[in-house]
Amino acid sequence: MDELQEVGIQAKTSLLYFDNVSVHFEIKGMDKPLIAVDGVSFSMNDGELAALVGESGSGKSTLGRVVVGLQKPTSGKALFRGKDIYKLKGKAFLEYRRSVQLVHQDPYAALNPALTIYESLAPALRRWNIVDKKDTRKAVSSMLEFVGLRPENYIDKYPNQLSGGERQRICVARALSVRPKLVVADEPVTMIDVSLRLSIVDLLLNSKKQFGTSYIFITHDMALARYFLLKGGGGKLMVMENGKLVEMGDVEEVINNPKHEYTKKLIESVTE
């Protein structure tokens, strides 16, 4: 309770509230730690979209991992619905775990090759009691339909029978099946063929429209970040360099009128 008063009303009402979050990695043989995330502050409300851009090594994925509970920050506050993510216990922790999901970059590594699609998707539904046991197969089928795959053609297949784009649709289905409030999508289409990318991005946006899912969309591609935000009805662009959030604002404003040198450099490196 004290903690809430300390950080104020915004922290309490936001879906996500990060205040001065840093992540340091101690590396053997180096006298100084590697600073992956350096004093990052931002907040997100229910149904809000954000895109996090920066080049490789800028700390985007590490920040994403802090959000989903996989990387404890060295310092700073990382709050989910006003509570410190890394102090959550019991029911509150489980609720957070279900509410915040991650879609990985590599759909080839994210699915267990020994399990069928049904076997990959069913446990999450069972784990969180999303549907009655007898309805699990039906629920998996409807998730497959949601991501544009005909259930009868996919439900009993193994990942190696599917293309990269199909696998990523399965990963999206799995993340969305537990009805999360927030999804961190870390370079979700980088490994997907160009012609299929936008269909998968549109899929993510459909869940925002239908269920009000919030997104942190991590990408190195400024034009793709803009597409994601504008197609989804607007949102904020966050630019990261060397672990620091160097610019943040409405996507149109940042792209048309970048303030920071690094943002300008990223924009210039996009060929049109």
């Binding site: 012609s195 936008l198 034009a223």
Partner: protein, 327 residues
Amino acid sequence: MNLLLSVEGVRVNYRTERGEITAVRNVSFYVDKGDILGIVGESGSGKSTLAYSVLNYIKPPGKIISGSVKLEGVGDLLKLGKEDVRKVLWKEIAIVPQATQNSMNPTMDVKDHFIDTMAAHGQNDKQKILETANRLLEEVKLDPQIVLSAYPHQLSGGMKQRVLIALSLVFEPKLLILDEPTSALDVVNQRLIMDLLKALHQKMGISIIFITHDIQLIKGFANKVLILYAGKAMELGDVNEVWNTPLNPYTIALLKSIPTLHGDVNSVSGIPGSMPDPYAEITGCPFASRCKFAKPVCFEKDPDFLEYKPGHFSACHFSKDIGDNYG
């Protein structure tokens, strides 16, 4: 006169446990002296296989079934024996393979990579080798003092890529083939490599084949582009012409699937459907099932790759209509 390389009707099959698949379907294209040709295709389009068949360097279970690759001053590379091909490699044509992050020997420093490569092709004068290495490393904007004695793990991805480009130039080849040279790099390093290649092209007059899945990289870099889909050459022509007045539905759809920094987000969209199963026999056009222009004929007859305007080729039964109505 100006022709450097002419590839005609190349077909490459791979034998697999499930049967034979065709990776490259009768592809034809040409490279003039001084050209930068971009070869664009998605995964499974056969772009790497095509590059290696240009060098007659397809290993089993792959096999070049038919076609010819004529290099000016040398002849048909597909008719040469292994040893003769080796003589052409590096000296006439050099290739920078994909996954360059792993194509250096981790136990050798950069200097030894130069010595090893040049010695394998008959240059044993160490002093000369070092002079060449110094000059070429400077050419790719690396400091030879530091880089020559560095081991691969001490170099960043972008630096390794530049070392390999320098290495590919040791015998001043006429044609440099780069297979996805920037795919593993971030946008800033990507731009650096592209600028560097452009400068080398201008300074040394070398011709370049640049293979990529990213059609955007081609514009402003290459002067010609070849678009592949499922192993088939769909369109070939001047980059700006293909961009502004494409003749092939796949090119049109591909260009429409790329978001831009300032364009209307509602005017771009993904291409529905997916690539045909490589094991399935394709009787008509491989793109027909995803094509919004498709008519019954497209599922029955594979369209020929024809020249519709001077230097502008396309494989589609409706390229003429598209050309008349689109531009």
